[in-house]
């Protein structure tokens, strides 16, 4: 489901998965860093673990807030050495959803 969150919305009780502003420093060897502000995903998806009678005895539903549709963006990093491309590619979220984290195209970290 599509959810829009204004900056002023209190997030402590928010449920769902939405586009949210995100800042990071784009860095690669041979260039100086550049702070980039873009759109990423944040939220709280419904997840559960339920006992079942047969192996594996626990039925899991672990969906996480991740990118659904993206736009590929390109930034130009400052101070690059002559042999280093200044171009830095990163995804911008157009729409986010609750889904299984795909190890095919994402780094799935959990803690």
């Amino acid at each position: 489901s599509e959810v829009c969150v204004a900056v002023t919305t209190p997030l402590h009780g928010f449920r769902g998965c939405a586009v949210r502003e995100f800042s990071f420093v784009a860095q690669k060897p041979g260039c100086k860093g550049l702070r980039i502000t873009t759109d990423a995903c944040w939220g709280r998806c419904q997840t559960w673990e339920k006992p079942i009678l047969d192996p594996p005895y626990i039925h899991r539903h672990h969906r996480v807030c991740t990118y659904n549709r993206t736009r590929q963006m390109t930034a130009r990093l400052p101070g690059c050495q002559p042999n280093v491309s200044p171009l830095y590619h990163y995804p911008m979220a157009l729409h986010c959803h609750c889904a299984i984290c795909s190890t095919q195209d994402a780094e799935c970290e959990t803690f």
Binding site: F24, A40, R44, Q46, V64, D105, A106, E107, C108, F111
Partner: protein, 107 residues
């Protein structure tokens, strides 16, 4: 689950066990699952992640999921026709829940 606040909580449900396909003997017991809303986010990967994944992992997902942090076994007695009754069957129930690791097996 609309009444739940964010977090990971015990959620009761009835489980019914039958001794065979015809349901000759059966028993019902209240057990608990863990259901909730834990935080997760996804953002552009650091350059080191891009290099390590040969530029395939351009998104990093950091997440927690609702898990059973403590469970217990409960015995369900199956009642049969004419007063005969089968042995008891053990099933799991959740006793405590926590936002914790999402499991890779189905994650």
């Amino acid at each position: 689950y609309d009444g739940l606040t964010p977090g990971c909580h015990l959620h009761p449900f009835n489980v019914t066990i039958r001794s065979d396909r015809r349901g000759t003997c059966k028993g019902t017991h209240l057990v608990y699952a863990c259901v909730g809303y834990c935080e997760s986010s996804a953002f552009p990967s650091r350059y080191s992640v891009l290099v390590a994944s040969n530029f395939t992992h351009n998104i990093t997902s950091a997440s927690r999921c609702c898990t059973i942090s403590k469970d217990a076994k409960v015995k369900v007695r199956l009642d049969c026709p004419r007063g005969r009754h089968h042995e008891e069957i053990e099933i799991l129930t959740a006793e405590a829940c926590r936002c914790d690791m999402c499991r890779k097996s189905r994650y």
